[in-house]
Point group: C2
Chain length 194, copies 2
């Protein structure tokens, strides 16, 4: 069950939400570029016309898939940027990203690991800027090119460790990922974690 | 330029190698599932018949793309398993994987980050076993489920940090990646690095 599905309040998800949930499952299995609207129609036993009623193109559907997780990521970035000090900002960013990866592993995987999604992301200026801010928050811990590599390493490490089929407790996994990220960045464990 | 292209000795790569190189470029851009044989033919100005002469299916082409990097990865795993002590084995595995990621970032990206490739990998018993051995070499540093998470984190971190378009020196990037991996795993820097 995806976090998006959990967020709906109606007892049965509406058609639009069912399309989004089916798209996420197929994007994970075949990548975005490898998933046609026809495949999503087949998965749900819908006609293609039923999909067209909600999404005219595959890109529109991808945008509907990504927008909620990008909004949540933007809120994490905004919050982290408000902290005082480079280390506190990095730690808040790390905590928030790990939380998203634990709660919505499929969405983080689509966002961070799918090369065909990366191509679409790069064409959206607002999204590119948000990802650059996210990266800077960790990279600033070590000024210079080494800091950027470490930031990339940590985000990719977290995104790649969030297994949707895992059997682990959310809070335990979150602690493990934050801990690995802190060590990779050389951040001390703060006395009071957020 | 891919490591595979470098490995050929003829001044101009032969048709089979050109197909493999074009496939790697398109897999990075569109993912494996999003790349048709027709797209590869178009990229090179070939007919589809010219491709069929070398590869009957897209899966055959993927196998030809992956086999060299999987062979090199298997050699790294074999070598790491011959070291004495859990930490020495993990360090050798980490060094070797980072070296492959630095030298062949596109191939490591196809191998480690493409969800549609992951589906194909899982269907090959020999490849699944090699990946499990690779994972165990790092996970053994911390027995228990936490060790497995850290191993996943480090492999995903390295694969995700190897940017084919980077401007960085290979040896510098290798040191940065090994360093980040050692810190994430809690491995000491050995006195004499291999």
């Amino acid at each position: 069950m995806s976090a998006v599905a959990v967020a709906t309040t109606s007892p049965a998800p509406d058609t639009r939400q069912r399309l989004i949930d089916a798209a996420i499952t197929l994007f994970i299995r075949h990548s975005f570029a490898g998933t046609s609207l026809q495949m999503i129609a087949d998965e749900l036993g819908f006609t293609k016309a039923a999909i067209y009623h909600h999404f005219r193109t595959r890109e529109q559907l991808l945008t509907a898939v990504l927008e909620p997780i990008i909004d949540r990521l933007t809120a994490v970035v905004d919050d982290a940027e408000r902290q005082r000090g480079v280390h506190a900002r990095a730690d808040r960013m790390l905590n928030g990203y790990a939380r998203l990866a634990v709660e919505s592993p499929m969405l983080i995987s689509v966002l961070a690991s799918d090369p065909s999604v990366h191509t679409v992301l790069k064409s959206n200026r607002e999204w590119t800027q948000m990802i650059s801010r996210q990266m800077t928050l960790l990279a600033d811990v070590h000024p210079g090119p080494g800091g950027f590599i470490r930031a990339q390493f940590v985000f990719a490490g977290i995104a790649g460790s969030a297994d949707p089929k895992r059997n682990a407790d959310d809070d335990w996994l979150h602690r493990e990922l934050v801990d690995a990220g802190r060590r990779a960045l050389g951040l001390r464990t703060p006395r009071r974690t957020s």
